[in-house]
Symmetry: C2
Subunit: 526 residues, 2 copies
């Protein structure tokens, strides 16, 4: 029987509060610093490594985090989740996104269906469909091949798949796996759809409509937008559209689509990149084998997350260091800083995955909590960020913990040697330099040129950003978020906070407003 | 004589600390709320309006902010700045970006040069060059027209110009002002340059190299990258490249460029969108008249910022409400939320402009300050953000002040009517609804569905995002940042915090490392 307890009721948390804060300027200096880099490292899947040497931890604090992991029963809670308990208590749902890429425990049977088999079956349907498109067996009405794919979705149906597509686009081009260009329409702003439609060849495009419920305002509106464009171009929309939705949605059995691929209520939008939500667009863009490799990387990383030993579990370690920073050191934000242009939208995806999951003020029983939960997540790729907001990270009045990601090799392999080093070496040199600059700082008699240092960071290092590494990276952060949610005792899998705005927007459109809302509606000409 | 004093030494600040926090759930309800929306509004340039009804202010607090503005001598400091005093004391430089678009006071003569004339002259040189490119008088070696333009720059030479280009791209296409597609190379990650070069027709591309000093590592590296690609394609790089730099930089008189356009040390990178840094790429992409309109919008907004009356000065009001939120209400972040897909990178630009300017811990005399300065800035366009991180904004444990932007009309004018409303109406309905949802919240017997409300926001409303409106919007935020820097008594115009990382990265590349830095360098294979 699992115990769901608030963080501040745990003895190990109280013990942690009595530990002494680590001074990175001391521990990261000299040979001791070198030893920390070697010791504070955990192997991940797909050749990645999680290094937390530059975090404010030492043997005592790590031992405290280990106790916390055990007292909070993190491994047991993860097991309950992947074996099909109702972990999303608010919506009374199972949480099964890990099953879309592997199976860590006992079979999960729900309503007589083996869920792993269901997800694999949908993945296979998508693979078959994608192959037929690539081979020219599924074509437009004129029998011509489709060359572009456009995903219509918002939030989890957009950010994750878009970030994953951008992460692999150059890799796919370089390795001969690039099949079709993908574009994305998400915003209800009509300029979003107009811009994408103006940039593509609609006659040779497949549109993927993604909405679990089949009722998302933005997505249905953009579907109509696209259908009008297709009709205007003399095309039959049903020859150009597929749906990714739940079997119970109005879209599921509609004749308006070439095909329908299914997910279910147990896959949250922000955790759906490894389901058909990511699967359809990534399989069409890069081929189903690439998508399968991506899933394999995620599945391997999931296995590591099931380990109850925090010293061997990178996601659990990352999560608990984050809780320590948030609740004991009182840091309010976390910056995600990938030194890889291909990960340009990965921080935006994590921003959703993290802030929508753990931006909660009540525990899983609906009782207000007396401690801070999810932090603000933001970030941009390095080295770009270095010439932007890093000023505040180095010398601002708040300390922001940093999450670096770096790869030894570039994706395209095209490089130049300038002043004795390649661009890739310069990129890697910069991320190494930043970790030390943040940790150690630099004294100066001019205060304006002084760096306080003692600013914590971790880094995930990989060989090259390929499908497996990307899957492992995604799984790491999904599991980190889950473990933090368990520790804070919140339900990370609902999002009631998005409802009120929807209700009020409907009132505005129905002109059922008064007071300030009516005034703002008037100002905006609605 | 201006007095530069720390915020916490001002009497008006101490008075403000004794005011009572406004409860938005009370003041924004009913007819009082409607009245606030009408009253708490300031006209901006180009048809924009700044509305702060949903901020936690009342007559008493506003009066306190007015006193603070006067005691901090904000209008006088701005006048000193635009009339050429050495406001950037750390680097002993004038701060003249407003002069690139207009002149608010006395002539600024420096080293015998009238600086306004200098900037206008460079703008004219760019306009002439752009016209010749558009008319086919300046062509590639084969006499063919250039069709694409690629900006090579990083930080301020990238984020602002890129955000402005994206903001006007669809508007230009719709209004017949679209001349050339623009792309941007910034990151030292070789995959960035490779990806852009793979996506363009190099034989018909002009590259703009932007670096004030002519020594920026990333930019020079990417220049070499591009030059190699041009040579490989059998082209002479000097027929394809122009430079935007300072007259004293090594690039200024080089025969390697078709032309060189100048800025100077008095234009900070993050404030350079209205100088040649933005001017060259925007004039080539949309024509010099569009760029001139953009400058006109900024110049008109600058005029409003020179008004000592805070109730008529939107940038000053916005700035001081922000200081009140940061230092008295103790909020650590600000989210920028444009309801316009065209402003997709505007938050990233403001993230630099704000965090690099005011992320400081020492005052302009190099003395540590005892209060918080610049907040973390992040954001994404609505409605996308609503399906992402808004969960935390509505129900998280921290309150994040919000800065909305919305326009009554779309840019492309292409829209669909679904369920009785257009997409543009849905977009506007959503932003109006969000303001009220954040301010008033909603009670519910289920705590998980309860919204505490009392979360402050402001909104800038415009007719349509066109060049003038964009210029006004940019100016508003630049001036807001400036006024906040004055109030915090920091130097907003240097960025010493970016130096240490550069120094250490050089050491890594020279293999002059030891301890933890050597270990990380080894892990990254450098």
């Amino acid at each position: 029987m699992i115990n769901w307890k608030n963080l501040d009721s745990l003895d190990s948390y109280k013990e942690l509060q009595n530990t002494k804060e680590v001074n990175l300027k001391e521990v990261m200096a000299g040979e001791n610093g070198a030893k920390r880099v070697k010791d504070y490292s955990i192997k991940m899947a797909a050749g990645l490594t999680f290094n937390y040497a530059a975090k404010k931890v030492d043997a005592e604090i790590l031992s405290g985090l280990d106790k916390l992991a055990k007292e909070a029963e993190l491994a047991d809670k993860f097991k309950a989740l992947y074996e099909g308990e109702v972990i999303n208590t608010g919506e009374k749902r199972l949480v099964l996104h890990q099953l879309t890429r592997g199976q860590l425990g006992a079979d999960v049977i729900k309503d007589g269906v083996n869920k792993r088999e269901f997800y694999v079956n949908e993945q296979n349907k998508i693979a078959e469909f994608a192959k037929k498109v690539h081979q020219g067996e599924i074509t437009n009405a004129k029998g011509e091949k489709f060359t572009q794919v456009v995903q219509i979705g918002i939030g989890g149906s957009d950010l994750g798949p878009r970030a994953m597509y951008l992460a692999l686009e150059n890799w796919a081009k370089q390795t001969g796996n690039f099949k079709m260009e993908a574009k994305f329409i998400s915003n209800v702003d009509p300029d979003d759809a107009a811009s994408v439609l103006n940039s593509i060849d609609v006659a040779h495009s497949i549109f993927i409509l993604v909405s679990k419920s089949g009722t998302t305002l933005e997505t249905l509106t953009n579907e109509s937008f696209v259908k009008e464009a297709l009709v205007k171009a003399g095309l039959n929309p049903s020859n150009h559209m597929v749906a990714v939705t739940s079997e119970t949605s109005p879209l599921a059995k509609s004749p308006d689509y070439l095909a329908a691929f299914f997910m279910d209520d147990y896959i949250g939008g922000r955790f759906s990149s490894t389901s058909g939500v990511g699967g359809a667009v990534l399989s069409l863009a890069f081929g189903p084998e690439v998508f399968a490799d991506f899933l394999e990387g995620a599945a391997e990383e999931d296995k590591l997350a099931a380990n109850a030993n925090i010293y061997e579990n990178p996601a659990m370690m990352d999560a608990l260091i984050g809780v320590y920073e948030r609740n004991i050191l009182d840091y309010d934000c976390t910056a995600v800083l990938p030194y890889s242009q291909a990960l340009s939208r990965f921080p935006a995806h994590l921003q959703q995955a993290d802030m929508e999951s753990n931006g909660k003020s009540v525990n899983r029983f609906g009782e207000p909590v007396n401690y801070k939960t999810g932090p603000v997540i933001f970030g941009e790729p390095g080295t770009n960020g270095q010439h932007s907001f890093y000023q505040l990270l180095h010398q601002g009045t708040d300390i922001i913990p940093l999450q670096f990601v770096g790869f030894k090799n570039s994706q395209a392999g095209w490089d130049v040697d300038i002043q004795g080093s390649t661009s890739q070496q310069k990129l890697c040199a910069n991320v190494a330099a930043q970790i030390i600059a943040f940790a150690l700082g630099k004294d100066d008699e001019n205060n304006n040129k002084k760096f306080e240092g003692n600013r914590p960071s971790s880094i995930i290092i990989g060989e090259k950003l390929d499908p497996k590494a990307l899957g492992a990276l995604l799984s790491h952060f999904e599991n980190k978020i889950m473990f933090q949610g368990f520790t804070w005792n919140v339900n990370s899998f609902d999002q009631e906070g998005v409802q009120l705005g929807k209700v009020l927007a409907k009132k505005v459109l129905a002109h059922e407003t008064e007071g300030a809302l009516k005034e703002f509606s008037d100002l905006l000409n609605i």
